[in-house]
């Protein structure tokens, strides 16, 4: 019997999770995006080792894998900060001033959009619309949606988290 064995990059058990996603889809190339979601959920970002592993296991060319990883906004190729703040820049939020919130955070933590502070504490991200327009302006801090926020309160919350210890 011919045994096709997928060799995991290391004995880190998390690779088994990623392998499981691909296995569930029969290692079909079309599950590339699904697998990338699993990688990002598992490791927080897509690094070179995981991209190579996925490319090899799904038999997708390396350049295609990289092309897909960089086409979609959702995927990060670099690790994110300990805390993340996603500022919604959807229309409803924009006209209610989330742009100002973003600017203030940039100033306070000296980071650009999509960037992480040097100490790795805070990442500032933007979303094109969270679909939370009813409670605009909205931000997501560490996965939790906050609606009807003010600039001051957002910055305060982040400051508290960032300088907690």
């Amino acid at each position: 019997m011919l045994i096709k064995k997928i060799i995991l990059p290391s004995d880190d058990n998390r690779w088994k999770l990623i392998n499981a996603t691909m296995k569930r889809h029969g290692y079909q190339p079309n599950c590339l995006i699904e697998t990338m979601h699993t990688v990002q959920e598992t490791f927080g970002y897509l690094d070179e080792i995981s991209l190579k592993f996925v490319a090899f296991a799904l038999k997708v060319p390396l350049s295609s894998v990289f092309g897909v990883a960089t086409f979609y906004n959702f995927f990060n190729l670099k690790p994110q900060g300990k805390h993340t703040c996603v500022v919604c820049l959807g229309t409803a939020c924009y006209i209610k001033g989330t742009n100002e919130i973003a600017e203030e955070i940039k100033k306070e933590f000296k980071i650009g959009m999509g960037k992480t502070t040097e100490d790795g504490q805070v990442s500032l991200l933007s979303a094109r619309c969270l679909g939370a327009c009813g409670i605009a302006p909205a931000v997501v801090i560490d996965g939790e949606v906050h609606g009807n926020v003010s600039t001051r309160e957002t910055v305060e919350t982040l400051r508290r988290l960032a300088y907690a210890n």
């Binding site: 060319p61 390396l62 990289f66 092309g67 960089t70 086409f71």
Partner: protein, 251 residues
């Protein structure tokens, strides 16, 4: 074409620029135009590669359609009336060229493809006097890590001929596009230096099909007398078509 028609394909008769023409049902407008020596400007289209309809230079007017249609992917139909060069189309084509020139740093005078560049030739042929859009002047990389070839992103127009020839003909799929929108960039493998590519076979097909000076041979330029992939593209093209036909027959 007669042979194809004999092979059981339906023949369509229609009009291009007032001239009666015919083609088989699986032909596109551009194929019939080329058979009839009607010139249509293109940059992404290359006979032998999958058509993607991306450069928008081959847009034509088809009577009854309220939209302009790309000649490279639009199949011919009975009684269709095609106009390939109205003032409106000419105007759009020049502006699309201007957009391309404004996008990156196309400096013809110091480009190794000066004189054999399809973008440059089109600009002259379509009568582009100047680029009225402000130039964007992006800062882009030149990758000279490959022992024989160079990638200069400053000259790339993202036509993806290299991506397609590498995938469809060579079967290596070394090239692809990363990012999106104005940030799009051609890459090899995981965006690593070309010279370090694991998949590249150094076949040079990408260089041969590149319409501009984005992919070029080292130590070669337009005035060189010796064989060059770029200059001798025409010798290379029939090979493309043959390969494609062989592939189609196999599948």
């Amino acid at each position: 074409m007669a042979a194809l028609a004999a092979a059981g394909k339906k023949v369509k008769t229609f009009v291009i620029d007032g001239k009666d023409v015919s083609g088989t049902e699986d032909q596109t407008i551009i194929e019939v135009c080329r058979e009839n020596n009607i010139e249509i400007p293109t940059l992404c289209y290359l006979d032998g590669l999958t058509e993607i309809g991306a450069c928008r230079l081959c847009l034509v007017e088809v009577r009854g359609s309220n939209k302009l249609l790309p000649a490279c992917v639009t199949k011919v139909q009975d009684n269709m009336e095609v106009v390939t060069s109205s003032d409106k189309l000419k105007n759009y084509r020049v502006k699309i060229l201007e957009l391309l020139f404004s996008e990156r740093n196309h400096i013809c005078s110091v480009c190794v493809s000066n004189g054999i560049c399809e973008l440059q030739n089109l600009a002259q042929r379509l009568g582009m006097t100047h680029v009225h859009y402000p130039y964007l002047f992006p800062k882009l990389e030149v990758d000279a890590s490959h022992e024989r070839f160079v990638l200069d992103n400053n000259r790339c127009i993202l036509c993806t001929r290299c991506v397609r020839v590498c995938d469809e003909i060579e079967g290596a799929h070394t090239w692809d596009i990363m990012g999106r929108g104005i940030e799009s960039m051609v890459i090899t493998d995981l965006n690593k230096p070309w010279g370090e590519s694991e998949s590249c076979t150094s076949c040079g097909k990408c260089v041969a099909v590149c319409p501009t000076g984005a992919l070029v041979e080292k130590y070669k330029n337009a005035v060189d007398k010796s064989f060059s992939y770029k200059k001798d593209k025409l010798k290379f093209l029939p090979y493309l078509t043959t390969m494609r036909e062989v592939k189609n027959e196999q599948s």
